[in-house]
């Protein structure tokens, strides 16, 4: 199970309040923190299970974060990309999350 988790294509991100998001590994690794977390050679618990519990990010914010991951993955190396919609009330929290996740 562990070995399948390390090279599985998808990873699970869990928010502090228990929401789970499954998304492609490559998309999630846009974040430096998550990338290091999942680094197979480091053998941390996250790397072994493919499950990252992000205690200090709420489900709402994490959803937006995941949306960004996918948005980024989709529009990589392109120009004239439509802006992503960010609700103003989430701005600050998203900024915090971005800082935390090193995105």
């Amino acid at each position: 199970m562990a070995s399948s988790a390390t090279d599985s294509e998808f990873v699970t991100l869990v928010s502090g309040d228990g929401f789970e998001f499954v998304l492609p590994r490559s998309a999630a690794c846009v974040s430096g923190t998550i990338r290091r977390m999942l680094e197979p050679s480091s053998k941390f618990a996250e790397a072994l299970t493919g499950r990252c519990i992000l205690e200090n990010i709420s489900g709402i914010v994490l959803e937006k974060v995941c949306e960004y991951f996918c948005y980024n993955e989709k529009n990589k190396n392109q120009s004239n990309v439509p802006d992503m919609e960010i609700p103003p009330e989430l701005c600050l929290e998203l900024l915090m999350a971005a800082d935390y996740l090193d995105t």
Binding site: G16, F44, N56, L90
Partner: protein, 821 residues
Amino acid sequence: MSLRARQKIRAPRRGLNTNKTDDFETNWEGLSTSLKKIHTKDASNLSFEQLYRNAYNIVLMMRGDELYERVKKLEQEWLDTEVQKRVTAAISSILLQAKDQAEIQDQENERRDTGEKFLNVLREAWEDHQISMGMITDVLMYMDRVVSADHKKPSIYVASMALFRDFVLRSAVRADAESMVADVLKSTVLFMIQLERSGQMINRPLIRHCIYMLEGLYETITEEESSKLYLTMFEPAFIETSKVFYRAEGRRLLETGDAATFCKAASDRIAEEGARCLSTLSPLSEPKIKDVLDKELIGSNIAEVINLEGTGVKNMLDNDRMDVLRNVYVLSARVDSKKIPLTAAVQKRIVEMGDEINKSAAAAAQAQPTKSAEKTAEGGKKPAEKPVNQQTVSAIKWVDDVLGLKTKFDKIWEESFRSDPTMQSAITTSFSEFINSNTRSSEYLSLFFDENLKKGIKGKTETEVDALLDNGITLLRYVKDKDLFEAYYKKHLSRRLLMKRSVSMDAERQMISKMKMEVGNQFTQRLESMFKDMTVSEDLTASYKEHIRGAGDPDQKPVDLEINVLTSTMWPMEAMSSIKGDEVQLPCIFPKEIDHLRQSFEQFYLSKHNGRKLSWQASMGTADIRATFHRSNGKVQRHELNVSTYAMVILLLFNDVPQGEPLTYEEIQARTRIPDHDLIRNLQSLAVAPKTRVLKKDPMSKDVKPADRFVFNNDFQSPFMKVRIGVVSGSANKVENQDQRKETEKRMNDERGASIEAAVVRIMKQRKTLVHSKLMSEVLSQLSARFVPDVNMIKRRIESLIDREYLERVGEDPPTYGYVA
């Protein structure tokens, strides 16, 4: 709009993280135990997120600095106690002992085993440290980002690497010992390398890993390329031991006294060190160790190797040992772009071999006079069939030998010296040195061409001929006195043309065009005009015949005339002129039939070209005559005799004397005015040569004396209808004898004098005034294409030009000349 937005922004920090950030100490507690777990490879049940969040929180509490210092301290403790203990434990006393190279054999194996063990432990410690620190750095990324960036501190990774350097590598091995772990590492690796150099197998990857470690560590935290521990600590020692080793190796190899072995070993060593740098040590060291090799092993020994008695370059050249020579070349090229010792040795050998060729040619030439004396004593047995005498053979042999030598060295140059231009110019210089040291080289070379154009190219394909001529031209390139060569070539060419001895006109033309390409237009001008004269003469002969037929002159005995009208300045007149010394020779008296013909042609020619003067060169011509022999038994035998013009004149004399009546030498001379020299030779061929004895001489002896009498020999016998009666020597091109040589030289000098004067005047006309030294150098450079002028001769010529008021002295200091218009 903006107002509304602001209202809706929620306060960022909500319960989730605040309730967990109890205080610094709790966070640190959790973090430090986890870090230790990472070091003991027990990370699988640690949550990265948790650790990361701990560090994150600490940094958010603005206590990142404290965290940084604590982590550092933790690392230091860990290295100092755990790792260092492990490493030093692996160091056995044997590794500490005498680092001197002279170790006893049985200790060697032991040392090697413990050494490998030690290196293994060290490597493991290093790799563990690297991996752990990698993980820790990841966990502390947030701290690194904030603290290191804000406070200009090295990242925790770099800092911990420096800790490894200080607390593991630089720790004392034993409490009482002075040497550090790094020293042991160094000496162990060097010991391994020494083992490998002496031919043993060692664990290369292991050493490579240790070197990686040294390459990954730096003296300073800024991590400049030049402060790598490998460069500061290990490499100097490595280079130093290599120097010592190769100095000894060089001496040892020299003592074996075999150049080939030396070169082989040296090339092997170079390859070996190159491979070592790639697979065992660091590629950074490759240029340096090669430097050491170049200096210690090659540079200080190559000259000696090249000159080794018996096995050095001389021997290699003699035995065509291409591969060894290539080794020598490659080695020399490494240490010295000019390859002085090698070129010197090669040049010396070329000149030696060349001198040998010169000497053997000279020896053959020395042997010649006695032989030719015998030949003339024998009465010129078969002069016509054997035109090539000993000396000519030796001349041609000389050229062949030189060509052989040239091919040999060309091959060596191509195969062993990688077509190196320096080597080529060295070889060229040596060739021209010894070729020019043979004063007769131009003559020999011309004879070589003569011989080949006369018979050598018979039955050869066009490409073969081409190659042959090219070979000759190559040698011509080396000859400095090209004017001398031109003179000889002209002389030989004129003989070939007039006597129709040339095998192929095409080959002749090819030769001329090759020379033109090689030496220049001016050089071949006269040669070409000689060819032109020949074709013009052909037309002239034809139109004269036409003229005779048209004139309808009822000549009772028509004589066919084929004539060559030659421009006197273009042809080497001295070869045929009748002027010997100062005494003017009266022209030969032709028999009346011939004289009639001569007048008729002269009339014809002068009517076409007014104001020209024809002088007849009987010595160069030939004639076909039909002779009738009345045998004593009453039979009549006819033969067609092909003889020289003089011989024809002599024979026609006998038409006018009664049957059986003799003519004395003096009578013949008086009636024909043939010069003594030619007369003697012609009489010899008519009366002495056994197969062509058309005249009988009284008394029968081999020499012709003034009192001798000659009678027409009616009993002349020959199996052939046509008989060719050659003239004893003279007709063939051969090496000149001493007198002729002197004469040629004298002529050459006159001609050179004229060329020099012409050059001086040309230059002065252009420059008006010129300093002496400049004039000299310009003259030298102008004339160098043709010959190397003698400085004294130039001076004399300038003097004489001043005397004749072409030039004047303008200044004395420095001496300057002016042109007098």
